[in-house]
């Protein structure tokens, strides 16, 4: 018998992985949570049928969403992470001794509990003493904060389902308010290759641009995500990650990475024309 996990990348394109065992299948209050064990990609986290991470390539996403902002402003002390129930982003952040406090806001407690049990590779640092986990709606949490964080990382699911509120104008505006005057906002920014994702990415980018003087997009190659070419948003009140990159400081931290390095840092902002074309069509929302 053969067992395959299939994710629909579009209505007419499928991506399939041969599975060894189905370890968890649970309907939480918010979504369907599945953990699968595969032959080539290790364990896989799936939410509502969408692949969130595989043990084989999760480091690319998690390194890129954290080290780019961290190597831009060494004075980042207080960090807010929204989403990130698998713990991968927290794992990367805890490698910086310079960070004093991390608040993580995940709407679904069961994602965290299940990842702690079945995905220690990503969830292994969720007991760091600098970390406080809040189980609530990200939009609600950030609404109540003002001038508190040097960095906000939005490590969200796709903008359908529980992550929907994290792609809205009201969310980005509230993030702006929650950030200090040095603040940086980094978010999972979908991809432009397939039309459906491109629209979402365009809208999100335009909304962010309406609040932040610097709003850039950078990319990484993530083999198991639709199209393999994934984008991140970098928005900031003061810093430009290309001009202000602190390569020497970052190297001195001695953090061993498998994807990110000082060359990738400057290179990832160099966007191919097919992304630049989409971005140019994206004026700042009023």
């Amino acid at each position: 018998m053969e067992l395959w996990f299939t994710e629909n990348h579009t209505d007419s394109i499928k991506f399939s992985i041969k599975i060894k065992r189905h370890l968890v299948s649970e309907q939480s209050e918010f979504q369907k949570i599945d953990i699968l064990d595969s032959y080539e990609l290790g364990r896989i986290l799936v939410l509502d049928g969408f692949l969130m991470l595989t043990e084989k390539d999760e480091y690319i996403y998690h390194e890129m969403i954290t080290h780019v902002p961290m190597a831009t402003n060494p004075d980042i002390k207080r960090v807010l992470v929204i989403g990130a129930g698998d713990g991968g982003t927290i794992r990367e952040l805890t490698r910086y001794g310079s960070i004093e406090h991390i608040d993580m806001v995940e709407i679904d407690r069961r994602v965290v509990e299940i990842c702690r049990e079945y995905l220690p590779q990503t969830a292994g640092k969720l007991d760091d003493p600098r970390l406080t986990i809040y189980y609530e709606d990200g939009l609600k949490f950030v609404r109540g904060r003002e001038n508190e964080y040097d960095l906000i990382i939005v490590d969200s699911t796709d903008p359908f389902g529980p992550g929907e509120g994290l792609f809205t104008k009201e969310f980005y505006g509230n993030c702006y308010k929650a950030l200090t005057s040095d603040g940086i906002l980094v978010n999972q920014h979908e991809s432009t290759f397939y039309d459906e994702y491109a629209e979402i990415m365009k809208r999100a980018h335009s909304r962010i641009k309406s609040f932040f003087p610097t709003a850039l997009v950078y990319s990484a190659h993530i083999p198991t995500y639709p199209s393999g070419h994934w984008l991140f948003g970098f928005a900031s009140k003061r810093f430009d990650p290309r001009r202000d990159q602190q390569a020497d400081w970052w190297l001195a931290q001695g953090i061993r990475t498998r994807y990110y390095n000082q060359y990738v840092h400057s290179g990832c902002f160099a966007l191919p024309n097919n992304v630049r074309d989409v971005l140019r069509e994206t004026p700042a929302a009023k």
Partner: protein, 487 residues
């Protein structure tokens, strides 16, 4: 406060829905209208609305009864609805609650008969007066100065009007107003009945009073004689479907004749089936659904008030008089204190945040929240309001401070509407008698109705509403630059 009623019939049945399902299963060959023939005649429409929808869009026939003359499944469905709402009889209405309001008034009033009503009624009530020639006796609603909104009627004011007009036929009561405010209905019924008048309830915004707990009393429970219930608003049926509820002393066959004067003879089975299924669902799940509704609204009200700037008002304003009761399911929010007209907040929510609410007027907005909303959407509304305050809030200086002006009625609506008219630039109409309607829609409460004296104050209000972007309707001149006045 209403408790939950005992129902006598088997509310799990839905006779019209069941008959329509059976009709489909019988695969009857349709050589009758509608001509789209189950959707095959219009592919785009079928793709857009769905095949089931088109297949169920059928016409009256023996097995499916006829709304103009109900003898079988529609009759049974209406009996179940009457049982569920605690009425003696009920009638399905497919012309919106507007149809139900007009049927109530026209069933009790002929030309020249008087009817006592608050001036802040929906246009549908005054329309009925234009059509049937009844004479309004307005009871001025109380006004809350801080919020600038009209309230309910006090029993004392009603009694004064009843005593002064002993020949009047009926009293009409909003239960509740659009903003959620209730009068002391039980007492008003008692006064009216003591003087031999019938009581009509405009319960267009009150379907949930019949099924929820901890809500103001419903018309039928208070002993009212007729009630117009807009089931599509908060009861879950399709837009434009409504119920007319009748109490003990009302002859249902005469009411049917009155309805048939103006209602379509091709009543939509989609609308009627939606009424049947909404009633079934409310009877079975209504209590739970409205408990969830109240929980959602109370949460939103608390968060909005905690954020400051806005005032999401509630039962703390109840004063035993014109603000006798409050419908807790209404999220009515006063916006003027942070320098924004309600209509401005309404437009910002839609244009900047992709959130559509029910209405915004000069000083307030109203959002309809039900048990069908998800937490994440409620969070979006609260967060967007907090962003609007941060980005657009300003000093309230220069904002118009009232929502409602009690007009003087100098001519009956029908006489003024059909009188010889003169069209004048709006700014030069002060002192004249208006012969048409002017209103912001929504909420659809006339600023001017036919027969009312135009004043400088009213013209200021209209010009402010226009400037802030309210959608003004009712006049012949769609741009509201000219008004028709009585010659």
């Amino acid at each position: 406060m209403c408790g939950v009623r005992e129902m006598k019939l088997d509310q799990s049945r839905a006779p019209l829905y069941e008959a329509m399902r059976e009709h489909r299963l019988n695969r009857v060959v349709p050589f009758d209208v509608p001509g789209h023939k189950g959707g095959r005649g219009n592919r785009t429409l079928t793709e857009f609305l769905g095949e089931n929808c088109l297949k169920n869009d059928v016409n009256s026939m023996k097995p499916l009864d006829n709304l103009c003359h109900p003898v079988s499944v529609i009759k049974q469905a209406q009996e179940l609805a009457a049982d569920a709402f605690g009425a003696e009889n009920s009638v399905f209405i497919v012309n919106g609650a507007t149809g139900a309001v007009q049927a109530m008034i026209m069933s009790l009033c002929k030309a020249g008969d008087k009817i006592i009503l608050p001036r802040n009624v929906h246009r549908s009530a005054i329309n009925a007066l234009v059509v049937c020639g009844a004479i309004p006796v307005y009871v001025n609603p109380g006004v809350n100065g801080r919020l600038g909104i009209p309230l309910g009627m006090t029993p004392e004011e009603v009694e004064r009007a009843v005593v002064a007009n002993p020949e009047a036929k009926a009293v009409l009561v909003n239960n509740p107003t659009y903003y959620g405010i209730c009068s002391d209905l039980k007492k008003i019924v008692e006064i009216a009945h003591r003087h031999g008048l019938k009581v009509l309830c405009d319960e267009v915004h009150g379907t949930h009073f019949y099924f929820g707990e901890g809500l103001p009393i419903s018309g039928m429970a208070a002993g009212a004689d007729m009630s117009a219930v807009s089931v599509h608003k908060t009861g879950g049926s399709l837009t434009q479907s409504a119920l007319l509820l009748l109490g003990k002393g009302i002859n249902p066959d005469y009411v049917r004749q009155i309805i048939n004067l103006t209602q379509t003879t091709s009543a939509s089975y989609l609308l009627m089936a939606s009424l049947d299924l909404a009633r079934q669902n409310l009877a079975i799940n209504g209590r739970e659904f409205y408990a969830k509704t109240l929980e959602n609204v109370n949460y939103a009200r608390g968060e909005i008030n905690a954020a400051g700037g806005y005032y999401a008002f509630g039962s703390e304003l109840c004063d035993g008089g014109a603000f006798y009761g409050f419908d807790g399911t209404k999220l009515s929010v006063h916006t003027r204190a942070m320098g924004l007209a309600g209509i401005e907040v309404y437009d910002l929510l839609r244009d900047e945040y992709g959130i559509q609410i029910e209405f915004g007027d000069i000083g307030n907005i109203l959002a309809i929240i039900t048990g069908g909303d998800r937490t994440l959407e409620i969070e979006r509304l609260i967060s967007a309001l907090s962003e609007i305050k941060r980005l657009y809030g300003r000093s309230p200086v220069g904002l118009y401070d009232h929502e409602y002006i009690n007009p003087t009625v100098d001519m009956p609506p029908q006489a003024a509407f059909y009188a010889e008219r003169e069209t004048l630039p709006i700014e030069s109409t002060a002192g004249r008698i208006c012969s048409e309607f002017v209103m912001c829609y929504p909420p659809g409460i006339p600023i001017l109705a036919p027969g009312e004296r135009i004043t400088a104050d009213i013209l200021d209000y209209i010009s402010f509403a226009k400037e802030k972007g309210c959608s003004l309707t009712g006049c012949r001149d769609m741009r509201v630059e000219f008004l028709d006045v009585v010659k």
